[in-house]
Amino acid sequence: MAQISHDDSSAVVIIGSGAGGGTLAHELTRRGIKVVLLEAGARQSLESFSQVPGDAFAQLTWLEPRTFSGTSTVGIDYPTLPSWTCKTVGGTTVHWTGATPRIRPWEVKSRTTYGEIKGASLIDWPVEYSELEHYYGIAEKRMVVTRRNGNPGLPASNHFKVMYNGARRIGYKRVHTNYMAINTRPADGRGLCIQQGFCVQGCKTGAKWSTLYTEIPRAEATGNLDLRIQCRAARIEHGENGLVTGVVYRDPQGQEQRQKARIVCVACNSVETARLLLLSESARFPKGLANSSDQVGRNYSCHTGGFVWGLFDKPIHFWRGTTLAGIVEDETKHDPSRGFAGGYHLELAALDLPSLPLAGLPSTMWGRDLAFVLEHYRNMAGIFINGEDMPRATNRITLNPKVKDAFGLPVANIHNDDHENNAAMRAHAQRQSKALYEAVGAIRVVASRQTPATHNMCTARMSKDPADGVANAHGQSHDIANLFISDGSAMSTPGSANPTLTIVALALRQAEYIAAQMNAHAI
């Protein structure tokens, strides 16, 4: 591993080691570029992953305070955890479920396809779909995605059999064990999936792709990576010419450090990426970095959804098996006759027993009603709705000066008002899920409300017109040539696909661009 001096201004500094930052670090270092990778969390391993659900959650999750405002029920049901992100080497690729559907062609042209929607801030992506497809292809090979490139699907679990039969009986045609970055057989130096159902606790066989044990050690092996764990970025600094010059961060002892940089790439997951740009305000950039458009933090998008649980009178044991290995793709289309714009996926989802009542059911549920659901724990099946969220300029990340973190910096406030398009889509998806379960004999169907997003997107979005967003088609900020957005924040709109594959594809593309720009001495 490289040791890069604090004064070395030739390095690229990447903040965050998840799907975007971890992939970018590997792609740059393998091209001979020196990278300092700052990660706020600690480094776990296959051996150290806890298999006690509550402990695993504490081991991997970003638990520092965030506040919430707005009409979304997330603020009611999950007041202390309005979004569910990670603080660990590998970021959310440690707790993700491995689902890797692609964004669809019309979803990168949503403004054109859906037209003007009141209260929405849709834009078309500045990236052509054909180009995105090219990088999807590379990403799917890299991550060994099932059902792509001749890789077999994961085998159907008990839980998927319920979804499959219900879906087919109500007429769905595109139902299978999902596109998963989880090994059906050993590949890429990683183990195979043993169907243990502990995907979000960290995969102890490494069957699930994570930058923690793929991109990051490979980047370290190049000799060009200086990974600094438990180092928390506090602000990005700039020089008189308006270009960024380095990152101020707190080291594991809490001491302030300053790392010089030729280029800074921000990949902290959308909430913290926006927060860091806003925290980096200066006399020259009083609204924060890359924010002359006032778009940093705006258009905060999740996925519209929540859980739907089917209760049966026969056993399913839904905790056995790969958590998200099942998908219905039929509703992923733009068909306004359903009463809303955009589409959604229905994905298989189980929760461990300790997590189900607090994470999977509305906070209004208690007493006999709650007990009835839990008494059917052996006989439950679950769906996670993953639908396109309608972006709004007023749904945004801001700094909350009333609540400070351990270093005295204002925490992020998440404001989220549910758009009526989301409400219509969620209701449709809940009805369809209910019909699906009833078709195979469900005795009762129960829905959660919106759950805390682990899919946080669009807070520093790519836009053709600098007035509409924060970055260009390569994630390079419109305002500052050597400042890049390298995570889901850069997505122009959320689409209806789980975002990790798209984030990896964009990072692969961005790495080529950064390397070319550095070679040409453009930055």
Partner: protein, 182 residues
Amino acid sequence: MTSKTLIPRREFLSASGVLTGLLAVGSPLALLAPSRAWALELKALSSSDGATLMAVARTLAPHDKLDDAAYALVIQSVDADAAKNPQVLAMLHEGIQRLGPGFATAPESTRVQELKALESSDFFRTLRTSTLGVLYATPLAYAYFGYEGEAFSKGGYLLRGFNDLHWLPEVPPADSGPVPGA
């Protein structure tokens, strides 16, 4: 639950309050514990506080056949928070006072009504979060609800029933995938 939290009654000395009970015959814990009688000491709450909160937990998550010992662990966790934080203790005392001394022995319909009136209070939210957060994470709950928990050390479920459901037709190969080793 370990034998550390299930201490024989005679070992009590200076606890503020105490919760006691009998493990149900056939309870998975009865096989492990030295005796069916259990007792749990409270640091900040009195015995009567404990009894009221036990009734709250049983009203919020009423599983009639689940051992009282599982609910007692909820109260132990709430008590530990109260022992650390006087504000939590004051909030609990206020809630307990509002519910009144008859709450613990009132019929379920009355208890539900009384709790409904407190639904928006910190007391209710704290007790709901603690009850749901602690109760279903206990080994007693795992056994009661049939949840098998950690599976890595046993090789996952690949060879232990991830696909043993036979009351529905099998998924065609194109929409499924090969079972390794099968």
